[in-house]
Amino acid sequence: MDILNALVVFLNFVFVPGLAYGAQLALGALGVTLVYAILRFSNFAHGDTMAFGTMATILVTWAMQSAGISFGVLPTALLALPFGIAATALFVLATDRVVYRFYRHQKVAPTIMVIVSLGVMFVMNGLTRFIIGVGEQNFADGGRFLITAAEFKTATGLTEGLAVKITQALTLAVAVVVVALLFWFLQKTRTGKSMRAFSDNEDLALLSGINPDRVVAVTWVLAAALATTAGVLYGLDKSFKPFTYFQLLLPIFAAAIVGGLGSPIGAIAGGFVIAFSEVTVTYAWKKVVGYLVPDSMAPDALLQLMSTDYKFAVSFSILILVLLFMPTGLFKGKSV
């Protein structure tokens, strides 16, 4: 029974990656849930907004790198992030002005808004590919590891090593900061409160003199910021390929719905629930179990519930279960 080694394997292959992925999903789900709470439709273009934002950040990163700017051990992309956010926010505001605003004033059914967001998705996807191509882009620079597996083993003397990438630690740190900022904004500022009021009871909010255009604009800016940040963190951690972000749409929606569409806390909780579910169900537990049971009972099989190719089958199943049995989600968002 080697609990310590089992724990290290668990942390290294399940817990730390799950935390990082969960933070990325949480940020993505926050954007989706905000748009749903205020604009009242499911934005299918959110994945490609993440791609667009990451692309913009990558371009600025390249410009910075060729100008010799760097951020030491941290990725240069962090410095480029505000610019990426600004570019994405502008684009998204333009999309609202040119596309969505018309339908909002007509008070069309939410289904129509979703179909419109499909069109926006096409355009954003096409633009991103047009500008940066479809190839994989690795734009992480700076240090690679916070702790390498070797350093860990030397420090602790254990057989198993725990490696923590800088991008993983960064993801968590940035996510915490962003979430704190978001909650401060929503809970303590006048604009933030007016957005919550607008989401709660639109008619009463209008009656109270809350400016709907302002609320909508701030929502889009926040969504762009969250999407870009999530996309950049994901791209730093793994790599950037425009197509991957569309695939992330499903776990992100799953996270938002599981947590309760329209509830920011729910989006965060949902992000981690989905991330950890995906990782635990597709992880091969052979090693961990091997450390925990007597040698005679050590398993031969991989002990992998589902192959990693079925990752999103996990998030999808959770989503379906929640939709069928608990449609308002964990934190009672807006109901079905």
């Binding site: 409160k193 919550r196 009021a197 709660d200 009871n201 008619d203 009463l204 009656l207 003199g209």
Partner: protein, 236 residues
């Protein structure tokens, strides 16, 4: 007769093609309570919503302190000193009591603490529950939040659409007491009510509407004493 403080005069109109109001007039003097009663479907709420500008009139005018406000949007009328408490969905359910009041005063850029104190004086229970989420309060307490929210703009006229709908009789009495207090502080009250008897009891002026038109108009006491009114609408 002196021009009333707020008057919706000879109003004709509805939500769509069909008119609901036919030449209907309701008015309230400064610091007084005017009550609109009538059978179901009489157009009571419609009349008040017309005064507030939530539907466009084919005919008639609305004047506030002599100024014609017929073409102003509801938000603009709020800025002019009118406040409206809808019958349903009149609070922000996921926000705290205090935040609800803050939102009520959204249009004001000056210090609102004093006004909030006044609201807490009027509705002491709200002070106790100021940090509680409004959606978790009881029906009567929610109504108090709704009225308090409307009072945060320091309005000159407070319009209430069936404030006692769905509350218990004790709570209803309490609410009416509060409404009288508000009126005494100089705010005019225009109120639609289903509980005609209790409402007319506290009313300075009563308007009985039938099918969108004025049927009886007089002081509350007179209407209460009128045998025909009693027979038709007050159950004898």
């Amino acid at each position: 007769m002196a021009e009333p403080f707020l008057i919706g005069e000879a109003m004709t109109g509805g939500y769509g093609a069909a008119d609901i109001l036919h030449d209907c007039t309701v008015a309230v003097e400064k610091g007084q309570i005017a009550v609109i009663v009538g059978p179901n479907g009489a157009g009571k709420s419609t009349a008040m919503k017309a005064v507030f500008g939530m539907l466009s009139l084919r005919g008639g005018h609305v004047r506030l302190a002599g100024e014609d406000i017929t073409h102003l949007s509801p938000q603009a009328r709020v800025a002019k000193g009118m406040a409206f408490v809808p019958q349903n969905q009149n609070i922000f359910p996921t926000m705290t009591v205090e935040e609800n009041l803050e939102m009520g005063a959204f249009l004001r850029r000056d210090e609102i603490r004093a006004t909030m104190e006044q609201v807490f004086e009027l509705f002491p229970i709200l002070r106790d529950k100021r940090r509680q989420v409004a959606g978790e309060l009881s029906g009567g307490q929610r109504q108090q939040v709704a009225v308090g929210r409307a009072l945060m703009t320091q309005p000159q006229v407070l319009m209430l659409d069936e404030p006692t709908a769905g509350v218990s009789p004790i709570v209803m009495d309490e609410l009416f007491d509060r409404i009288i207090e508000v009126a005494r502080s100089g705010i005019s009250i225009l109120m639609v009510e289903q509980n005609a008897r209790q409402a007319l009891n506290i009313a300075d002026k009563g308007y009985v509407l039938v099918q969108g038109a004025n049927r009886f108009t007089d002081t509350g006491a007179t209407l209460l004493a009128d045998p025909e009114v009693r027979r038709s609408f007050l159950g004898g």
